[in-house]
């Protein structure tokens, strides 16, 4: 069998892997942002116990290798909770929970870089603290955080291949399945690598576009800084 017909035959299978990988990465980024931003707010504005709990969470998820987390959740924690979860779901959740720890620190830094005067001015107009956080602090923090946040994408994309270890049918898993079936090694792995690189490139372009869209004069976060 020549290389081209093999590639042609398995290509659709790999493309499906791209979709799974994109799904993993997108879920992880969304879970990470949805948890990370509130965690950042809690760490800046919350009570002492809350800050402590969030600090503990961040310490835990940043302190362990991602593979350890993955095995821990897949083989222990979820089974102990009597949850029989699909490997994809576990992979996305673990990457997301871990991403939340990193994202919370990106957002926290952004919030802390906002001048005290923004909150002072909002309060002086009669806004409650919660309203000020919602309408003044978060919109600014998100923009300031974008360049740092955009590094989360390639990080999670590359990390996502680790889901191979629990059998999620993503790019790497499918690649090695093809290798086993066809005994063609190098070209298939190169194809896999190219697909990761393409995903990386495309994702960064999307993020750069988004950054431009939300850019505001006077914010270092907008437009230039984040484009790779």
């Amino acid at each position: 069998m020549d290389l081209f017909s093999v590639v042609a035959e398995w290509f659709p299978y790999l493309v499906e892997g791209i979709l799974v990988t994109v799904g993993l990465v997108a879920s992880a980024l969304i879970i990470g942002a949805c948890l990370g931003l509130p965690m950042a707010i809690g760490q800046v504005y919350g009570s002492r116990p809350l800050k402590y709990v969030i600090g503990l969470y961040v310490w835990f998820f940043r302190g362990l290798p991602v593979l350890v987390l993955l095995f821990m959740f897949y083989f222990t924690i979820f089974p102990l909770l009597n949850l029989d979860l699909d490997a994809f779901f576990v992979g996305a959740t673990v990457l997301g929970l871990r991403g939340a720890a990193y994202q919370s620190q990106i957002f926290r830094g952004a919030i802390q870089s906002i001048s005290e005067g923004q909150m002072t001015a909002a309060r002086s107009l009669g806004m409650s603290r919660a309203a000020a956080i919602r309408t003044i602090i978060i919109p600014q923090a998100v923009r300031i955080a974008l360049p740092g946040w955009s590094n989360e994408y390639p990080n999670i994309l590359t990390d996502s291949a680790i889901c191979y270890a629990i059998g999620v049918a993503e790019l790497l898993t499918r690649t090695s399945q093809i290798v086993t079936q066809t005994y063609i090694t190098m070209p298939i792995y190169i194809l896999c690598a190219l697909m990761f690189i393409m995903l990386n490139f495309a994702g960064m372009r999307v993020i750069a576009y988004l950054e431009k869209r939300v850019a505001i004069p006077g914010f270092s976060g907008g437009g230039q800084a984040g484009i790779v």
Binding site: S124, G126, F219
Partner: protein, 254 residues
């Protein structure tokens, strides 16, 4: 006690504030009538900013009370947000919301605090921007405004809430002379229109022509109070104010 308390729009009673072991305010009291412009002067670090911030409770005083009309502003709990709508504040560094255009800066509290509809808020915001001569810059972001323009927008933002009194904390200290003039012009106009204002400033020309009373603060207490006519006239007294004005006059004469 012949004076009727209800003559006053704002009453400040015996405010004390200590930071660590530094007693910044050592019992400050004064009353403000509707339409008054009270100018506060005094050396750096004597508690002028702290005093203004105690009035709208951005800083909570250790003791003492503040009354707006006959309602207590101090110890008002969650109700403080209602009082703050009635007590505007303008800051030395403007503190415009950096992610919002000029008009959105003025609109946002109308919508989020007063619950106005976006259309009504926009109309009101445009009106206030016109009052300070900034309607042509409605769609500019703060980073695209000069200091004087930014400060005028921040005045419009305070005005839009229709406050009973506005606190100005060195509104022109971050501006060079030309921009200072355009901001003082706006404030002068407000005073003439009857806005009640408390102004910390070292602009003696403004104090002289606009102030109802000039308050000299030093070391956390009010040392002297007088009308511009008394302070700038050739009568006796007011040595401290005069010597202080001499000093800052020397500075600006450099």
């Amino acid at each position: 006690m012949s004076e009727n308390k209800t003559d006053y729009i704002l009453r400040v009673e015996d405010i004390h504030k200590t930071y660590g072991d530094a007693e910044v305010l050592k019992g400050v009291s004064f009353n403000v009538r509707k339409g008054d412009t009270i100018v506060f002067i005094g050396p750096s670090g004597t508690g002028k900013s702290t005093l203004l911030r105690c009035i709208n409770q951005l800083t909570v005083p250790d003791s003492g009370r503040v009354w707006l009309h006959d309602e207590e502003v101090t110890n008002s709990g969650k109700k403080i947000n209602r009082f703050r709508q009635k007590i505007g504040m303008v800051f030395q560094n403007f503190y415009l919301f950096d992610h919002l255009t000029a008009i959105k800066n003025v609109e946002i509290a109308l919508i989020k605090v007063k619950g106005m509809s976006p259309e009504a808020a926009r109309e009101k915001a445009l009106y206030e921007l016109r009052q300070v001569g900034m309607e042509d810059f409605a769609d500019h972001y703060p980073a695209e405004l000069s200091g004087g323009q930014a400060q005028r927008v921040s005045i419009a933002r305070a005005l839009a809430m229709e406050p009973d009194v506005i606190l100005f904390d060195e509104p022109t200290s971050a501006l060079d002379p030309e921009l200072t003039r355009e901001v003082l012009e706006v404030m002068r106009k407000l005073a003439l229109e009857g806005m009640t204002m408390l102004v910390v400033t070292h602009e003696m020309g403004f104090a002289r022509s606009v102030a109802t009373e000039i308050v000299f603060m030093e070391s956390g207490v009010i040392q002297e109070i007088g009308t511009p006519a008394e302070v700038f006239g050739d009568g006796g007294g007011f040595e401290r104010i005069r010597s202080f004005m001499g000093k800052i006059g020397d500075l600006s004469g450099d």
